[in-house]
């Protein structure tokens, strides 16, 4: 059963700039959003290729394809590209596209800054990827200290390209901060008449809170890489014990940024799921205000749990207990959210189009990642799990089947609104099922090898782990290549030949201002503000 209402309407003629200048000098929230999304998609394939090098090497014990040193560069760049180059830009791209349309605004509040914050990213990642290309060409190592760049690995022992990395992180940080300022200014100043805070769609709410998290922690990241920079080049000793510094301090400052960062990567996903589930359950979201409060509580708690990443650094028991309980407390607001999604589906007239499939996949598999997170929060158990593949399994369940699945869901959900054409539903469902089966083949066995003690970030392993690793590698290649289905589907939908035209509402159960605009959405959204009752 399809929720699509077939109805034809006239094409809209907008005056938009043409040629490369349209993109280079764009101040249009939709064009910039599109660029963010394509940038993220490109990075997904680059970061995915690095992941496949890792999985190819781990298909068998022993060293097959790459040297250990190159393997370290793969794990480092895979992590950095996926976190800063895929998940974060994709969410900013979605915010650019959807926030003005959802709150009834003509564009973002600060369009020129919007342009700048996007165009910093290709520079930042060009620099990072340049270090990898130089490494392949034999001109010295790319960053090889893991995406967490712990001192002294990144200071005393960091390769020369670490300075590229530092500059790259500075640029990404400036880009994120400007993006966040823009989103906050848009939400505060540009809501349509009648759109009170508690009437905003949940996606807007989650991005509002995420933007504040970005404002609070990206400067701390900038601070920590600046300390690295001066430690490396100007003789300071922030993290060097020889000069009175402390490498453990690095971990505290890094994770003070790092833990809110993981919520930056998941709160917008919560928002997307909260838009999709009510649409396909044809019910209003259950517990709107509790969703808002739960998101705020998660954001607050994210600032007081960072040391759970460092239980094994030798903290006193009292501190460990505090961070353990605070961490476990996050399960409460997160549980509220999962409960609300399930309650929204309860007795709804549900249909299972691709966005809904990915949303349900998200709820189910993100919860698995949440549960393993609870296991990791237990101090006594964490000493066993720390730095094993169990941790790898945990954060890939929350980031791949969590954040990335939400992004996939969002693309299928809003693509008809963006392009005016329906995507190929059958191909979307095939994409979902192949991805879901392969992603579990990829990450589920990692729980077992992790519990059995296989350490992460090591290119070789004990022969007892061989079989599970082979499963994971097979799953990785299927999952990686199945993303080409999405690419094909998106490109053919944009071209629109033989595709069903989307109606303005697109989905039968869709509610909200963005669905009152024509499909494809006109170049300028609401030139006269709509009135919200």
């Amino acid at each position: 059963m399809s929720a699509v209402i077939e109805e034809h309407h006239d094409d809209h003629h907008d005056h938009k700039p043409t040629g490369i200048g349209r993109w280079l000098f764009s101040t249009n929230h939709k064009d910039i959003g599109t660029m963010y999304l394509w940038f993220s998609f490109t990075m997904l394939f680059i970061g995915g290729a690095l992941a496949l090098v890792i999985r190819a090497e781990l298909f068998q014990p022993g060293l097959q394809f790459v040297e250990p040193e190159f393997f370290n560069q793969m794990t480092t760049l895979h992590g950095l590209i996926m976190v800063f180059g895929v998940i974060m830009p994709a969410f900013v791209g979605l915010a650019n596209w959807m926030v003005p349309m959802m709150i009834g605004a003509p564009d973002m509040a600060l369009p020129r800054m919007n342009n700048w914050s996007f165009w910093l990213l290709p520079g930042a990642f060009g620099l990072l990827i340049a270090s990898l290309i130089m490494s392949i060409m034999g001109m010295g190592s790319a960053p090889n200290f893991g995406w967490t760049f712990y001192a002294p690995l990144s200071t005393t022992y960091g390769p020369d390209s670490t300075d590229y990395f530092i500059f790259s992180v500075h640029m990404m940080g400036i880009s994120s901060i400007m993006g966040a300022i823009n989103i906050i200014a848009t939400i505060i100043n540009m809501r349509a008449p009648g759109m009170t805070y508690m009437k905003m769609p949940i996606f807007v709410w989650t991005w509002f809170i995420t933007a504040y998290l970005l404002i609070a922690v990206m400067p701390v990241l900038a601070g920590v890489v600046t300390m690295m920079l001066t430690d490396r080049n100007f003789g300071t000793s922030f993290f060097n014990a020889a000069g009175g510094g402390d490498p453990v301090l690095f971990q505290h400052v890094f994770w003070f940024f790092g833990h809110p960062e993981v919520y930056i990567m998941i709160l917008p996903a919560f928002g997307i799921i909260s838009q999709i589930v009510p649409t396909f359950a044809r019910k209003r979201i259950f517990g709107y205000s509790s969703m808002v409060y739960a998101t705020s509580s998660i954001a607050f708690l994210s600032f007081i749990v960072w040391a759970h990443h460092m239980f094994t650094t030798g903290m006193p028991v009292a501190t460990e207990l505090f961070f353990m309980y605070a961490t476990m407390l996050i399960a409460v607001p997160t549980g509220v959210k999962v409960f609300n999604w399930v309650s929204t589906m309860w007795k709804g007239s549900m249909t299972f189009e691709t966005p809904m499939l990915f949303a349900i996949g998200f709820i189910f598999m993100f919860s698995i990642g949440g549960f393993t997170g609870l296991m990791l929060a237990i101090v006594a158990a964490d000493f066993q799990y720390h730095d094993t593949y169990f941790v790898v399994a945990h954060f890939h369940y929350v980031l791949v089947t969590g954040a990335l699945y939400a992004i996939f869901a969002a693309i299928y959900f809003w693509l008809p609104k963006w392009t005016g054409n329906m995507y190929n539903e059958k191909m979307g469902k095939i994409h979902f099922w192949i991805s879901t089966i392969s992603v579990n083949l990829l990450f589920f066995p990692m729980h077992f090898v992790g519990l059995a003690g296989m350490p992460r970030r090591i290119p070789d392993y004990n022969i007892q782990f061989a079989e599970f690793n082979q499963w994971a590698s097979v799953g990785a290649f299927i999952f990686g290549f199945s993303q080409l289905i999405l690419l094909y589907n998106v490109v053919s939908t944009i071209r629109g030949r033989k595709h069903v035209k989307a109606t303005d509402q697109v989905w039968e159960g869709a509610e909200g201002l963005e669905w009152t605009l024509p499909s494809p959405a006109p170049f300028h959204s609401f030139t006269t503000p709509p009135t919200v009752k």
């Binding site: 005393t156 200014a185 100043n189 009648g194 014990a241 301090l249 940024f257």
Partner: protein, 201 residues
């Protein structure tokens, strides 16, 4: 209820100004964590940092009913070419009783060098109770080429230390003073890969 769209330059500037101040403040906060962390560690003795617990007078009565084993660990930072050891591996002390232990250090190179020893105490919670009256770690050590030196440490374990602690490890790491003769700030990557190659072969 702010319901009118008020996207004027003035309202935007207000929001941007507030947010930029927050950004600057958080950048500063990142750096403020450095002294805060040190103060926190000194105050609580966490992280095994002994801080400046210099006790220049004997104010304790030895608690002969308790015995604590103090072990000594010496190590050299990666490129420190000196020789460094304690004259004994461990000592049994009564809390409150001052003890003197000698450490030996020798500059094996043909250059004059400056080193600095950094102490650390495990378990971390014992650090606060481990008080040094005299220690070679209080100052930089200048050693001429080939010079050998006996360096004393005098310490007292505060008798109010928890009953649960029966063993304390005092560890010293000798560093080359950064920026002086022999100090290398960065390790060449090629030397790491050589080490790796030696391990894998």
């Amino acid at each position: 209820m702010a319901t009118e769209p008020n996207n004027t330059p003035a309202t935007n500037t207000k929001v941007i100004a507030k947010l930029l101040v927050t950004v600057a403040a958080m950048f500063g906060f990142g750096f403020a964590l450095v002294p805060l962390y040190d103060v926190f560690c000194d105050f609580t003795g966490l992280n095994g940092k002994t801080g400046e617990q210099v006790n220049s007078f004997n104010s304790y009565e030895a608690d002969t009913s308790r015995e604590i084993k103090v072990e000594f660990l010496t190590s050299l930072n990666e490129y420190m070419p000196w020789e460094f050891k304690a004259t004994q591996d461990s000592v049994i002390v009564h809390p409150g009783q001052p003890i003197k232990i000698d450490f030996l250090v020798r500059n094996k190179t043909d250059k004059d060098m400056i080193g600095q020893a950094i102490p650390s105490v495990a378990p971390g919670l014992a650090a606060k109770y481990f008080q040094k009256t005299e220690c070679f770690c209080f100052t930089e050590q200048k050693l001429k080429a080939g010079e050998e030196k006996v360096m004393p440490v005098v310490f007292i374990v505060d008798p109010s230390i928890s009953e649960d602690i029966n063993e304390i490890t005092l560890s010293y790491t000798f560093f080359i003073k950064p920026g002086t003769e022999g100090a290398k700030r960065r390790v060449k990557t090629s030397s790491i890969s050589k080490t790796l190659a030696n391990h894998t072969n």
